[in-house]
Subunit: 320 residues, 2 copies
């Protein structure tokens, strides 16, 4: 395979000039530029990108950390990220962590080793003390409130959102409210948990462990929730479900078991995925694609750390 040197020789110029042509530098006389292009054509020259990377110290690659690729929440987020990456001529390196800390650290190490230019962490598992060790190597962008950290972030105020949702249900007459969530730990989960217990003490209800459903990620998990609901002596009358797909699963399963919605139980979803619309699920709209776009833009911006709060909109439909 021909390299820049061969081209230079063939075109009768220096490698510098070839490099200038390659990078559209203005200071190249037209006839020489032609000659270089001609030589490239003839040799079917392909620039060795790894050499470019070594030389420039950048890769046009952005790492994206997600726990699961196969989840509608991250699906939409990655869609937004991917679209914007495309526009800016960046490519994505995908890290599926399954919430294993080591996977996330691998991604951070790729940043450190300059194999990627920036890293977007869509759902974090590592502690801040780990993350902060890597901030010097390139932009790290988080999808959670990270305003007091040395990174950029695009986030939702989950405390406020959750509080508002609970108040909304309360105002509809519900006092026994439960919620379904993906994982126990995680910054967003903690915010929500806090909002929940604060709300309970405000309305004078006691905390009932039974009303909280973890590992509730997907459509298929709805069935388990409904099963547990059926076994309860004193089930909640409303459920906040942090994923529309899980909410859809719950709705479907309820219908099957003859539980009326919202009569017997009110269901409120999250995200406003298309499925929520079809199934008329009341939900909180989270503009995931747009968030993905912002995350990408922050990842590209190596100059400054920014923080963008995204607001959430209530979509009233028929399950509350």
């Amino acid at each position: 395979m021909a390299n820049i040197k061969d081209i230079a020789k063939k075109a009768g110029v220096s490698v510098t000039t070839v490099s200038r042509v390659l990078n559209n530098h203005p200071y190249v006389r037209e006839d020489k530029r032609e000659a270089v292009l001609q030589a490239m054509e003839e040799f079917n020259y392909q620039r060795n990108i790894n050499a470019v990377h070594l030389s420039k110290g950048e890769t046009l690659l952005i790492g994206v950390v997600v726990p699961f690729t196969n989840h509608p929440y991250f699906g939409l987020l990655v869609e937004g990220i991917a679209n914007e990456a495309m526009k800016n001529n960046y490519k994505l390196v995908l890290f599926q962590t399954n919430y294993e800390e080591n996977r996330e650290i691998e991604a951070l190490k790729m940043l450190q080793h300059k194999q990627i230019d920036s890293l977007i962490i869509c759902s974090r598992i590592c502690g801040w003390e780990v993350i902060s060790q890597f901030t010097e190597y390139g932009p790290i962008v988080l999808c959670e409130d990270a305003r007091n950290q040395n990174v950029s972030s695009t986030f939702i105020d989950h405390y406020m959102t959750f509080t508002n949702a609970l108040e909304y249900l309360y105002n509809k007459g519900h006092q026994k409210i439960g919620y379904c969530i993906g994982r126990r730990s995680g910054a967003n989960s903690r915010q929500r948990g806090k909002a929940y217990s604060d709300f309970l003490s405000r309305i004078g209800e006691s905390y009932n462990e039974e009303y909280i459903f973890y590992e509730c990620l997907n459509f298929e998990h709805g069935e388990e929730v409904v099963q547990r609901l059926l076994n309860m002596e004193n089930p909640p009358t409303a459920l906040l479900v942090t994923s529309d797909f899980a909410a859809a699963g719950i709705v479907t399963s309820c219908r099957e078991k003859g539980i009326r919605i919202p009569g017997d139980i009110a269901i409120m979803g999250f995200d406003n995925q298309p499925i929520a619309k079809i199934m008329h699920i009341t939900t909180l709209e989270i503009p995931l694609v747009q968030m993905g776009k912002k995350l990408m833009l922050q990842a590209i911006d190596s100059e400054s750390h920014t923080h963008e709060e995204i607001s959430v909109k209530l979509i009233e439909r028929q399950t509350v």
Copy 2:
């Protein structure tokens, strides 16, 4: 940042020896190895991976081309690919093409430029005449029957599968059978189309354009299908739906409109996604995660071109 030269100097050895330590070459005396490791420790040495790539001509990066990241079919496939990549210490570069040919070509060019070691194309848009121009640069793996091409592939015999499914419905007493599919073109779609028309002529039914539903990818598309169904004078009595999510959407929408399943219309899904189980949808199980795994293994194998046919299993439930 320290480089291999600094380490060599510090440890009082040559760069070659440092490289040997780095790559676990056996011919290094224990005390020198220690000294090198010591020096690395002291300087907090980080190997420049781009230099490694340039030198070795490989990147441990595998490209993955999907039309949409946010689709359960590709979600599962990528999950399988990602898991296997992880095991083998490879990382993924994700290309979301939205079925734009140029995106796919970009991916192929990254293979050509050795920015990725191999390329997995989960759903192809480029013609073979394009693909074949890139086969010399590294393994290209397809997720369709590509036995007569210069690539590897893991695939399903969609002609046979579709035929069997149609026969199954026919044997259940259906003669007016339609189908829902994602896109018009594409190798798999063509195979299915052929199976469909062959089947029709075998049973002596005429081809009814109305019975075919395109762009039927997701849950939300089920609603449109049902709407069209309702407007038909002579609707089909059975529908083959090439995605469980779309099937689930159809089932949900039918329930809402009071169309009985399988009484008024039988629905047969594809993939056996979890949603199909919950909604009791009869479906054809496609082991997508396993297919992803095989695709990855083929991508890593640069020695030979292999072709793996994956068989599909009928899962009988309650919608047929």
